[in-house]
């Protein structure tokens, strides 16, 4: 197990370095050097003599070799220095710290709801295969995998916000300020983010439950006269959950990607909306930082998933 973890950690480190290289060099594909991009946004552009530009280049370390610049950039990130936003005139790290709790609040709820209720739905449809529950829920999971989140969001707003008037249609309030309002505001966006995970987990859980049902030890459990509850909960559930765990990585990736759309639909000031507005505002320092942080989160989640998977299923770590 230790060997497996060490091997997996080294692999993750290599991937992490590649991720930083991708983010850094893609940003460098922008025409003009970063000083020009920076200066062009600071109004005094026309009056800028070449000497000042050179001085700025030296100040930002841009006169050095590109690999040195890369190293400086990475070193800066390790110190928590993501650069300064051109639009907000604020430290990008601070800016992200303001916005991230919102996205994490929604995303975390979506992950939990997707995992718990998805697995539950999958379990029930497998146990009641072919019955009405299975026949209604299983086709719905297909829809859950394919519906565009923004369409789902607008549909929910139309039905529950406009027509029925049950829920506020947009905005975000911290649960610490007004817990009740906050909860009412997050119901629809969290559902939108969770729907893919709900559907994917339900499908995976259903098929792995059906797989486990055929195993000898389940027949033995039935044969020795155990009740349905014990057979399902004690013997089938645990083994069926293993494949579901692997979906966690994909699920987090989908939720982080979806947050960009969902936050736009519901006008939620999270990292997703910051990302989109920064792209249109050509605030590349922010775009770069958010892309990197999202990728690192997914890298970490995948690492944890792989290690726990190997811990749960010995065939993996010896494979």
């Amino acid at each position: 197990m230790t060997t497996y973890i060490i091997r997996r950690l080294i692999q993750a480190l290599v991937v992490l370095i590649l991720v930083t290289l991708i983010v850094f060099f893609v940003m460098r594909l922008l025409p003009g050097d970063p000083v020009l991009i920076y200066v062009a946004q600071t109004a005094e552009f026309e009056a800028m003599p070449p000497e000042t530009l050179d001085r700025l280049r030296a100040e930002f370390g841009l006169d050095k070799h590109i690999m040195v610049q890369y190293a400086n950039w990475v070193a800066g990130i390790f110190r928590g220095d993501f650069g300064t936003s051109i639009f907000y005139r604020e430290d990008v790290g601070t800016l992200m710290l303001e916005r991230f709790p919102i996205t994490i609040h929604l995303g975390f709820l979506a992950v939990i709801i997707g995992a718990v209720f998805g697995a539950l739905a999958g379990m029930l449809t497998a146990v009641r295969r072919g019955k009405w529950l299975d026949k209604t829920v299983t086709p719905l999971t297909y829809g859950g995998l394919t519906i565009p989140v923004f369409l789902l969001g607008i549909l929910l707003i139309y039905a529950f916000g406009v027509k029925l008037g049950w829920l506020p249609i947009s905005g975000y309030t911290s649960p610490l300020d007004d817990f009740w309002l906050s909860t009412r505001q997050v119901i629809m966006p969290v559902f939108c983010l969770a729907v893919f995970g709900l559907a994917a987990n339900a499908r995976q859980m259903r098929s792995s439950m059906l797989e486990v049902t055929r195993q000898d030890y389940i027949r033995t459990a039935w044969a020795k006269g155990l009740g349905e509850r014990v057979v399902v909960m004690r013997h089938m559930l645990k083994n069926s959950l293993i494949p579901v765990i692997t979906l966690m990585g994909v699920g987090v990736s989908i939720i982080l990607g979806g947050s960009v759309l969902v936050e736009r639909v519901f006008a939620i000031p999270g990292v997703g909306s910051l990302f989109v507005s920064s792209i249109f505002g050509q605030d590349y320092v922010v775009v770069q930082a958010i892309t990197l942080v999202f990728a690192v989160i997914i890298l970490m989640v995948n690492l944890i998933v792989d290690i726990s998977y190997a811990w749960l299923d010995p065939r993996i770590r010896y494979g």
Binding site: Q11, V14, V15, L18, V19, L21, I22, V23, V26, M27, L29, L30, P31, Y142, G143, L145, T146, I147, P148, V149, F150, L151, I154, L155, I157, Y158, V162, S253, I254, L256, G257, G258, V260, L261, R264, V265, F275, V276, I279, F280, Q282, Y284, V287, T291, F294, A295, V296, I298, L299, N302
Partner: protein, 302 residues
């Protein structure tokens, strides 16, 4: 597809080919939902190719005063948008955008991703490590986020829809490479590959004349699924306002524009939204049907 595939490996046994094709048809068309999905895709292709003939109005023509935001009627089946343009016509032209982005991206990414996967799987070693770790790194970015990130840079070099096509192509390369890599690892263990090498075939001949054709059936399933994912991502990008060539019609952008008239003109966002959902659903269900029909392990079970 299946016929081509079997004729590549089964150099004799004509009857086997016939029964394989029959089995494919039977399994594929057995599920009504798959047939429905196929119907949707046929409609999509027809709409895209014959858009000028099918569209009742010019999708770009601005309406006169008093023609904007009309409710659905006999004259405009789905009403008009804020600029007085016919929604149904724009919907039909939107099929072109969706299909074009989907097909070009899936092809470009395949041309890059499939060889990468075969090379990594076939040669193994350092080459494998370098290629697959690079793919892992690309997989760390959520597809939509990576596409947005690339689009932010690419829009300095390309215009409109090409930004989206290139960004999405790059975003799905790792999907191809991973699947092809896995397939290559298992296919190269077959005796017929060893026979080829014993006969002195070059590496590239073994890789592209023998491994690639045998990897075809699962790759076709992957392509179908990816087309769905691409059209969904394209809709997401155009919903956010990336890669639109005004006055061109893209479904995602139509949903965003219609969102402003949420309660008064629901057809404005509902129609393109349902079009996206239907097409994505169709690609997924057809991909599922293809998987069941093409998977030799399910032979006898289905």
């Amino acid at each position: 597809m299946v016929e081509k595939h079997t004729s590549d490996i089964g150099f004799s046994e004509a009857p086997v080919r016939v029964s394989e094709w029959r089995r494919f048809r039977r399994v594929f068309f057995e599920r009504k939902l798959v047939t429905f999905g196929l119907g949707v895709l046929v409609l999509l292709v027809i709409a895209a190719f014959f858009a000028p003939l099918l569209a009742p109005y010019d999708p770009y023509e601005l309406g006169d005063a008093g023609e904007s935001l009309l409710q659905p009627s006999g004259e405009h089946l789905m009403g008009t948008d804020i600029l007085g343009r016919d929604t149904l016509s724009r919907l039909i032209y939107g099929a072109r955008t969706a299909l074009m982005v989907g097909f070009i991206s899936v092809t470009v990414a395949g041309i890059i991703g499939i060889p990468l996967g075969i090379i990594a799987g076939y040669f193994g070693g350092v080459l494998n490590m370098v290629i697959m770790r690079a793919m892992d790194a690309l997989m760390c970015f959520p597809m939509l986020l990576l596409a947005l990130f690339l689009a932010a840079v690419l829009k300095e070099y390309f215009s409109g829809i090409w930004v989206v096509i290139i960004a999405l192509s790059v975003a799905i390369i790792p999907g191809y490479a991973r699947v092809t890599h896995g397939l290559t690892l298992s296919i190269k263990e077959n005796d017929y590959i060893m026979a080829q090498r014993a006969m002195g075939s070059s590496n590239s001949r073994v890789m592209f004349r023998h491994i690639l054709p045998n990897a075809f059936p699962p790759l076709i399933v992957l392509v179908t699924m990816q087309l769905g994912a691409l059209i969904l991502a394209e809709a997401g990008l155009s919903f956010l306002g990336i890669g639109i060539d005004p006055p061109g019609a893209a479904w995602g952008a139509m949903v965003w524009d219609g969102y402003r008239y949420l309660a008064n003109n629901p057809v404005l966002w509902l129609a393109p939204g349902i079009a996206i959902a239907l097409v994505v659903f169709a690609f997924n269900i057809v991909g599922d049907g293809l998987r069941d029909a093409l998977d030799p392990r399910l032979r006898g079970l289905l």
